[in-house]
Amino acid sequence: MATENISAPPAKPGTNSGFLKRFAFKPAWEKLTWTWRPETKREAGDAIVRNFVLHWFPAKVSLESLSWGYSFWLGTISAVLFLILTITGGVLMFLYVPSVERAYLSVKDLEFSTSYGWFLRGLHRIGAHLMVAVVFLHMVRVFLTGAFKNGRKAVGQNRPLNWIVGVALLLITLLLSFTGYLLPWDQLAYWAITVGTNIASSAPVFGEPTRFILLGGTTIEQATLIRFYVLHCFLLPLATLWLVSYHMWRVRKDGGLACVEKRYEEAKKEEQPAIASKTYSLLGITGGTAVDVRNVMVDDEKDKVPSSPYLTVRLAVVTLSTLVASIVLTLIVKAPLEEAANPAVTPNPAKAPWYFLWLQELVTITTFTVGGFTINGALIGGIILPGVLVLAAVLWPYFDKSPVSSIGRWFPKERKWQNWIFLLIVAAILILTFIGTYMRGPFWEIYMPWQEWEQTPRKF
């Protein structure tokens, strides 16, 4: 073969020493890239199992798991986006100053004076928005395919637990975006965080102390900025890394993506022959069948392909495509920077970040007056409703009664009602987000997207 060194000692198949000897004689270039072009099945397995980064993956992966149309690789895309955010964020940490006097000016420097500063900031911002969207879509996919359900309890599966970890990761992603939003210290940032923390403060009992700890005081000042900065750059990414590692480990522990469950369902339907074996009795060895050995045996190897190269190449494609899409969006969509934060001037309208606009909508429409008693919308729409949604999401896998045959499939008939109600809730959130983004003008009045906003005085 063209790539094999003829003077290398011959490798005995199946022995470790043969592999090592062959490897030592390979030129430097091949030592770096051999995992991408395995020459034998043994090498294909080793490429995954012996690799520091890749050994999380199984050596062989099922064809169904590789399908684009099943998972759309949304989990992978969000992991890639997190990587992009970490790298751009790391560089930005050298250039941004988290002090109320300097934050805005350092962001202005980034935009106009630092070489490629606008690009770094833009890529970081686009990555953040994309990550919130992709993580949400990933959750929608997992729910609609019933991948939060256990198929084979006997093997110790706990997909509901992984679903809960996923919900936690969604909340952490939103928090990461929220803490990052304040850092430019412009009007947009300052008032978005004012709205957000005021919603948090309307929670009963814990609301005010929560706001006090978040802000590091009673007003949004230096203490707030440095707390949000440390949360954004250190604590929340650390929590994300930890939970994402557990989340992915859990997927392998559960036997892979949920789409592999149907193979076991099909195997169950087939007649399982009794396994002939020896039975050891007190009087000697007798023939016959052993007790209770009828088992569902699935030939896993039938439908699996080596991860190197099938999985690794698709991973490379997904990584590069995500990077390309993020960069193209960065070049097209400019990152906004409004005037410097001014506590005396509230912009009209003052809007939360787009992923919280549905909450802001709820908050405005759920203020009720019963008799002389007014219930603040911030409590109903901001705390209770989202709280109920999160609780419902977390508990749903334990109330779900659909059969095991509906796991790992898109829109199965058995889960029709679940999926429709879920989609209804998702649609409601999206509609509220749309209204909040495009249809709310000064004084939170309804404006059609094509209507011009009235010129309102901005200085009160």
Partner: protein
């Protein structure tokens, strides 16, 4: 529209290809084609090169952004006052860390930063003028510079003669401002030890 092969057939084809061939197939095998003169080899070369250029470009942008284009520091060239402000002998400007020496109409500026590790040297007036040979010339010196940090010593003209200092004290360029007659020191422009500004 061409009839699609059923999924089972496609799966069987892939798995067959693996079983019968000791070399695992798949797209990565084509990496070997790089450098070959086939169309596929050319496209593969193009593809991998594009990825390397793109990633290299990203890395360059990230590293370049760490070299600032604008410095928020005081300028290196500044005015220090009108000529009559300076008496004969040495005047120490503390915040700028330099000495302005005047002899009637001749001025020169010596840096007060020790050339060893940057501490500010002290100007020491000698009780009796000393004759020293520095740079091949004999000088009658009235002052010396002593560094408190590690004991470096310099003659009045800035030449190092004791301690760990590796070279003489720096001299800076001087000029007189045309608009208000003030003395301008340019710490970005170093000059020789025999430099003098004569007004």
């Amino acid at each position: 529209m061409k009839k699609q092969k059923p999924l089972d057939e496609i799966k069987a084809e892939i798995l067959d290809a693996q079983e019968n061939d000791p070399v695992v197939g798949g797209p990565a095998k084509n990496v070997e084609l790089i450098g070959t003169s086939s169309r596929r080899g050319f496209l593969k070369t193009l593809g991998i090169s594009a990825v390397l250029v793109a990633l290299g470009g990203q890395l360059f942008a990230m590293l370049r952004s760490l070299f600032p284009n604008v410095l928020y520091e005081p300028p290196q060239k500044f005015k220090v006052g009108t000529l009559d402000k300076f008496t004969d002998g040495g005047t120490f400007l503390e915040d700028k860390r330099l000495f302005i020496f005047r002899q009637q109409n001749t001025f020169h500026a010596i840096s007060a930063a020790c050339t060893h590790l940057g501490c500010t040297v002290k100007m020491v007036k000698l009780n009796q003028p000393k004759k020293v040979t520095a740079g091949g010339k004999e000088i009658d010196e009235q002052v010396e510079f002593h560094c408190p940090c590690h004991g470096s010593k310099y003659y009045g003209d800035g030449t190092n003669y004791a301690g760990p200092a590796p070279r003489p004290l720096d001299y800076f360029n001087l000029e007189v401002s045309p608009d208000d007659g003030q003395l301008i020191v340019d710490m970005a422009k170093k000059v020789e030890q025999d430099y003098r500004l004569t007004t």
